[in-house]
Symmetry: C2
Subunit: 273 residues, 2 copies
């Protein structure tokens, strides 16, 4: 299957697209991105993703040559051209060519679409195990292309028998490399971290449905110790909505998801799409 992408200001077959070897993205790892799920031909929550994309770019001093409308039109054109059933769209701003190898002068947009599994209509019954790791993402409010630590830690994670990593720093929970983290306290309060992490679009949607449906929640600093008394835990992302967590390091969590808060919220998220 020949997929098309947007690169070098045009729609081209993905195998003909390349980032120049002199680009700041290649030589200095300087770039941002955002990733959204496409259901049939509908790019989900694209406005929220574009809000974050433009915010990331602003913080990183990468001016985006296109307007929001331009990008929406490129996404629309790719979706039509690639005609995938279920997919993900990745929008990247590369630092661009820098004559001195260091100064941002020509940032540019890349948009890629690739097939993606459709998430289940109901919360997955099988949870995952997280291994905690002391790490603070740099410039953490930005969705940068820096996944050095996440990828480097994959073999370590597998040694722990874990499926994903939960970053913490200074005794506080931050995030997973590609997901946000939520847990339910022994007082049945849903809690998620507030500072020094990337704020996901699914996380935002969850907080909105919690408000709308009167589900009590707190967005605040979360201490590592709180994990020990949690009743339930889960991670959230645009790709999967919610995945239950059945174990973090040595601590195990409820396996009966039929009565879980995650299940209730999952159904509400499906309703938003």
């Amino acid at each position: 299957m020949q997929l098309f992408c947007f690169s070098n200001n045009q729609i081209v077959p993905i195998n003909e697209a390349g980032v120049p070897v002199t680009d700041l993205l290649v030589q200095r790892g300087y770039g941002i991105f955002d990733f959204l799920r496409v259901a049939k031909d509908k790019p989900l929550f694209i406005d929220a993703h574009l809000d974050r994309f433009f915010h990331s770019a602003e913080v990183m001093r990468l001016s985006i040559p296109q307007t929001r409308e331009d990008i929406k039109n490129i996404v629309k054109e790719l979706i039509q051209k690639n005609n995938l059933d279920y997919s993900g769209i990745r929008m990247i701003i590369a630092g661009g060519d820098a004559p001195d190898g260091y100064t941002i002068e020509h940032p540019h947009l890349i948009v890629i679409q690739a097939p993606l599994a459709e998430p289940s209509l109901h919360l997955p019954e099988i949870g995952i195990k997280l291994a905690t790791y002391n790490y603070q993402r740099q410039i953490s409010e930005v969705k940068s292309t820096d996944y050095l630590m996440a990828i480097w830690l994959q073999p370590w994670m597998k040694e722990q028998g874990a499926d994903d990593i939960l970053y913490h720093h200074d005794g506080l929970i931050r995030e997973c490399p590609r997901s946000n983290f939520f847990f339910v306290t022994d007082q049945n309060l849903l809690v998620t971290s507030k500072n020094q992490m990337l704020k996901g679009i699914t996380r935002k949607n969850i907080m909105e449905v919690c408000k709308s449906y009167g589900i009590p929640f707190e967005e605040r600093d979360v201490f590592m110790e709180e994990l020990k008394t949690a009743k339930e835990a889960f991670i959230t992302s645009s790709t999967k909505r919610i995945i239950p967590v059945h174990q973090i390091d040595q601590t195990k969590y409820q396996a009966d998801y039929t009565s879980s808060i995650a299940r209730k919220i999952y159904d509400l998220l499906v309703g938003l799409e």
Copy 2:
């Protein structure tokens, strides 16, 4: 001038070379590199650079498809083909295509050559100003492509009236983004940091000439406070050999380089080439 590079297993014009948009280097910032100076047709200290390149790759779990001899031959071929007077060679290992977007499966080599100014035969008389910044490079023994913080800090650095940044963490001096840092104590002892920074090839050469010529030096943890009583300071890199530092934040250093240790060492470094 049409320059050639090595990419996708062949020597190609640099403007025809591109890193696939699906590469881990592009999507996840996962890659390493090394950079060496070429004097006419002589790649300087290439064995030391290859030692570090292969070490970076090993720590990052990037297997290099080529042998050391292969890479030396590619460098030699590029030097002949590009026929530059004075230049720099950048060797990159990109994470490569990952079907799951996350797992290292096909790392690959890129080699780029570009013109470079020939450093002076004598220590530059004009020093630079450094601004200190609290930051610890991740996986610091590795020359990764992660320069997110360095590039992001450029406007801040200019606001400080500085020419480069000096990273410190936990009260200890680490390194500059592209250079190592040395200073001379009030006891005339040359000192450089030992831990949690990238160990430069020029730094290694300096320690060797110090041993050979009986110049007293120490490689150890260096405290920020020590900067206040330093008699002399300088940074070192493969590109420039040594650049004197005349100011760090508010502290100024000797401007008379005729009697400096930096000057003596600079002459010895020129002799090594």
